[in-house]
């Protein structure tokens, strides 16, 4: 069954090829083809899944070698696919959620300016899915890197989808550049692997780790470099700034690429490299720190924004922080991180689609201060969004509760007490803050007075909110069902962790508890409810002003400025970079070019003066000839008689 697994990648790739090369001829049925290829991949993924579930643990992993990709002397890279529980999980997530969002896009993109462009959009979307599948299905780090860059390209193309907006172009560029920073880390990590074990295939590298081929220093370097790659792709501190800006793209793109799948590639990378991380506790500590910092940053900033997509984007940053924190816990958390990734994929995609539905109804307005009272007008959107919201803030029995609570428990269950307090505390704080900002979002959007009645949208139209067409609501309903049930389905009876065990190892249970095991879920839920209550006190009770309140205390100001993340980058990297570049340009212009140009000028100038000797008068030439002859004769005589 696994032998034909390349079909999974081939379908969307073929779709992208047809749609992008076919041009306008495919306009009429392009979106249908785009959905059909993903559906085909999804169906094949299901077949793969069911053909492996019943098997023994060892038999669940199989490798398919397709062709020799880069055969250069020592460097032998085979292009192959690795079918194991982890990759099948991702395969199903990507194609399943991807299919739903593709369907949703048919409706969402239908009214985009330039009807023809919907076909190109689906081409890019298929390209993204193909690249993402290569990323998760590849059997080596180079294959992963191919997919890694492929999704980066698709992300770039789709963030910059609205080519008439300078902000979209800037955001696309920013995403691309910050991703490159991370990619450099990943590339260097691959170089180190090749240097040490002479191969970049997963099996060879992990065997090398098991055999002790890597020194501890190399292992730490690998973990940090891979983490750098993960930070770039997943919007983790300090490379988190691009992800909120990426919301410039169409909402389905935000839902699929920048919430459900691509940004979780960093989590996948760390989970996939679990033998390396298991072998390096120091590296894992850094991962945990990064995850904890990011999750708090994301929550704090999320509280301050009024842009519905930005709030969701920072929510994504923070939730991925949870995942990174989880996988940083090592054997205690790999499976939990992946589980949260899956549930998050459902409910965050649903939330984004809901937000897209709201925007669709509100003339593409994203400012929540202009919303309000939409619950009655858009009941389906409200219900599905509300379910996603409950899942995200971790209300039992919705999916987010199971996955997030497990992570918080694992974080609190670390052996060293200070770690347990610090990281567990950060996770708990994050849970409370998440509840706060998400409640704020829901209250501002769906409840309260209809603030949009008296104003017009930025393009001068009046607001006439309406429920979205069924082609958009049905995917939202399906995702809402996932948001509700996925957590329980995965967590109860530990089915998911056992399913993943062949890839990431058996989930270890901590026996060290700073807070009693049974209290943690209550504590989490209690904190979340506290956040909800606070949000109601601050937002729900009062009238929401149409413009941002000013002045505000420092924490809010800082949060509105992304906690100065951009300033931080500007100050620490961009400015010195600019200065260095200027200095180099100066040196290049004045010294290097000066040397070259000076030589040229010297020759040119002296030639210009020597040229004057060419008077055109034969007698001058004869004079110099005679002078030369005299010198010659004098030299000869000097040699002869000296």
């Amino acid at each position: 069954m696994a032998g034909a697994a390349w079909l999974v990648v081939a379908f969307p790739l073929l779709g992208a090829l047809i749609l992008l090369v076919g041009g306008k001829r495919t306009n009429a049925w392009g979106h249908l083809l785009g959905c059909a290829t993903i559906a085909a991949s999804f169906v094949y993924g299901l077949i793969l899944f069911f053909s492996t579930t019943g098997q023994e643990e060892a038999a669940r992993t199989s490798e398919v070698s397709l062709f020799s990709w880069i055969p250069v002397d020592q460097l032998q890279v085979d292009f192959g696919l690795r079918i194991d529980p982890l990759s099948i999980t991702f395969l199903l997530l990507i194609t399943g959620v991807g299919f739903l969002i593709h369907v949703y896009s048919i409706g969402y993109m239908a009214h985009e300016p330039g009807e023809n462009d919907r076909r190109r959009f689906f081409g890019y979307f298929n390209l993204f899915v193909a690249a993402m599948l290569i990323l998760v299905l590849g059997n080596g780090f180079v294959t992963l890197y191919l997919g890694w860059e492929g999704v980066g390209l698709a992300s770039y193309l789709l963030i910059g989808w609205y080519t008439d907006r300078p902000s979209a172009a800037t955001a696309a560029k920013k995403a691309f550049l910050m991703n490159r920073v991370g990619d450099v880390g990943l590339a260097i990590a691959i170089f180190i692997m090749f240097k040490v074990v002479g191969s970049t295939q997963y099996t060879a590298v992990f065997d090398g780790v098991a055999n002790g081929a890597f020194s501890s220093g190399e292992l730490v370097a690998l973990t940090l470099l891979l983490l750098l790659g993960a930070c770039g792709k997943s919007g983790q501190f300090p490379l988190q700034a691009w992800l909120p800006d990426a919301m410039e793209g169409p909402t389905p793109v935000s839902a699929l690429i920048h919430a459900a799948t691509m940004v979780t590639a960093g989590v996948y990378l760390i989970a996939r490299s679990n033998p390396i991380y298991t072998a390096s506790p120091d590296g894992r500590l850094v991962v945990v720190i990064i995850g904890a910092v990011t999750l708090v940053i994301g929550c704090v900033i999320g509280c301050a924004y009024d842009d519905i997509k930005k709030v969701l984007a920072y929510s994504t940053v923070s939730q991925i922080g949870y995942m990174i924190l989880a996988v940083g816990l090592g054997p205690f958390g790999y499976a939990l991180g992946i589980m949260h990734l899956l549930t998050h994929g459902f409910f965050k995609a649903g939330l984004f689609l809901g937000a897209g539905s709201v925007m669709h109804a509100m003339n593409d307005e994203v400012d929540m201060r202009k919303y309000g009272g939409l619950a009655r007008i858009m009941p389906v959107t409200f219900v599905t969004f509300g379910l996603g919201y409950l899942a995200l803030i971790g209300v039992p029995p919705f999916s987010g509760f199971f996955s997030k609570d497990a992570i918080i428990e694992a974080a609190l269950g670390q052996d060293e007490t200070w770690r347990a307090w610090v990281f567990g505390g950060a996770a708990l704080l994050g849970a409370a803050l998440t509840a706060f900002y998400m409640t704020r979002l829901v209250l501002m959007t769906f409840f309260g007075e209809k603030r949009w009645k008296d104003i017009k949208s930025s393009d001068g139209r009046e607001f006439h909110p309406h429920e979205s067409p069924s082609v958009m609501t049905i995917p939202m309903i399906v995702l809402a069902v996932g948001s509700v049930g996925a957590g329980a389905f995965f967590a109860i009876g530990d089915t998911f962790t056992e399913w993943l065990a062949p890839t990431v190892g058996v989930l270890e249970e901590s026996h060290h508890h700073v807070i009693p095991h049974a209290v943690v879920p209550w504590l989490t839920v209690g904190l979340s409810l506290l956040g909800v209550l606070l949000a109601w006190l601050f937002v729900g009770r009062k009238r929401v002003p149409l413009s941002k309140p000013e002045p505000v205390p420092f924490p809010v100001r800082a949060a509105r400025a992304d906690l100065y993340g951009n300033h931080f980058n500007e100050l620490l990297i961009a400015r010195p970079g600019t200065w260095l570049t200027r200095a180099l340009v100066y040196i290049d212009n004045k010294w290097v070019d000066g040397l070259v140009n000076g030589t040229a000028a010297l020759l040119g100038g002296s030639s210009g003066r020597l040229r004057r000797a060419q008077t055109g008068f034969v007698r001058s030439y004869a004079l110099s000839m005679l002078g030369g002859s005299i010198l010659l004769i004098a030299a000869l005589l000097a040699v002869r008689f000296a």
């Binding site: 008077t615 008068f617 007698r619 001058s620 004079l623 005679l626 002078g627 002859s629 005299i630 004769i633 004098a634 005589l637 002869r640 008689f641």
Partner: protein, 290 residues
């Protein structure tokens, strides 16, 4: 015996010494005269003097064939060719005194003295006591020409053939450079073209110059033509014969015409002053009538 011969051979006879001390200064004088003479023809003649002296020196130095060739071919033919060309390009085109190139004369003199000093110094230093092998043996019985001929046609046959090629090439080159096809288009005008050119105004006047004419008292070219009013036609005055200026003949002309040149009987227009007044009057009249 041979030593005696060698010693005898090494000596230079008194007669030759006298000849050298006479001819050497003459040759030097000729050379200096050539470069100092302002007129090119004089330069050529000074050079002839130098060449003749050198020709005699060749004969004195046991090279009679070369001496005669020098006199006959060089002085006789080549220098005459020079003179021919000089006459062709204009013998009176003497050099101007002003030197246009700054420092040219000074440097030329300095370098000339320098090279002379270097060569003289080198020769006098290295060739003080050279044993002289005279050419009596080779030249015995007027065999100089014979031996030269043998040498040229045996040992130097190939260079000799090369010189023949060179001479032919030079002759061809001279012909190509010197040939001027006067019948080529644009070189010489036909009568028709000439007439058209005259009437287009490319020449000073459309008609030929006037001849002595019917009123002439003589048919000499020195006699100017007379116009119908008895005045001298200025075009008929020969530029070459300046002495026949009209002034010389003016009185004679008057007497011949029998009349002082007065107002022109055949003139169809009044004098310029009258013309202008009339014109003004006419214009005024026309204005008044209007």
């Amino acid at each position: 015996m041979s030593a005696v011969l060698a010693a005898a051979a090494a000596e230079v006879s008194t007669g030759e010494a006298i000849a050298f001390w006479v001819l050497g200064p003459v040759a030097l004088a000729g050379a200096l005269g050539m470069i100092f003479a302002r007129n090119a023809v004089h330069s050529a003649l000074w050079l002839v003097l130098t060449m003749l002296s050198l020709g005699v020196m060749y004969m004195v130095q046991q090279a009679p064939f070369l001496g005669f060739v020098q006199i006959i071919v060089y002085t006789g033919a080549v220098m005459m060719l020079f003179l021919f060309v000089l006459m062709l390009v204009g013998r009176d085109s003497s050099d101007s005194v002003v030197e246009v190139l700054r420092g040219q004369r000074l440097w030329a003199t300095v370098l000339g003295i320098g090279i002379a000093g270097l060569i003289v110094g080198a020769v006098s230093r290295s060739l003080t006591d050279v044993p002289v092998e005279n050419l009596q043996q080779q030249n015995a019985g007027g065999a100089n020409v014979n031996n030269l001929g043998k040498s040229i046609f045996t040992e130097y046959l190939f260079p000799f053939e090369l010189t023949s090629a060179l001479l032919i090439t030079a002759a061809m080159g001279a012909m190509v450079l010197g040939y001027l096809n006067r019948h080529e288009k644009g070189m010489k005008r036909t009568q028709k073209e000439l007439v058209e050119a005259r009437f287009r105004g490319e020449y000073e006047r459309p008609s030929p110059l006037p001849g002595p004419g019917v009123f002439a008292t003589a048919n000499s070219v020195a006699t100017p033509a007379l116009l119908p009013d008895g005045s001298v036609a200025p075009e008929s005055l020969s530029r070459l014969i300046d002495s026949t200026a009209s002034e010389t003949f003016s009185d004679e002309i008057k007497s011949v015409a029998g009349t002082e040149p007065g107002p022109d009987a055949h003139a169809l227009t009044p004098s310029t002053k009258d013309t202008s007044t009339t014109d003004t009057k006419n214009t005024e009249d026309t204005e008044e009538t209007r």
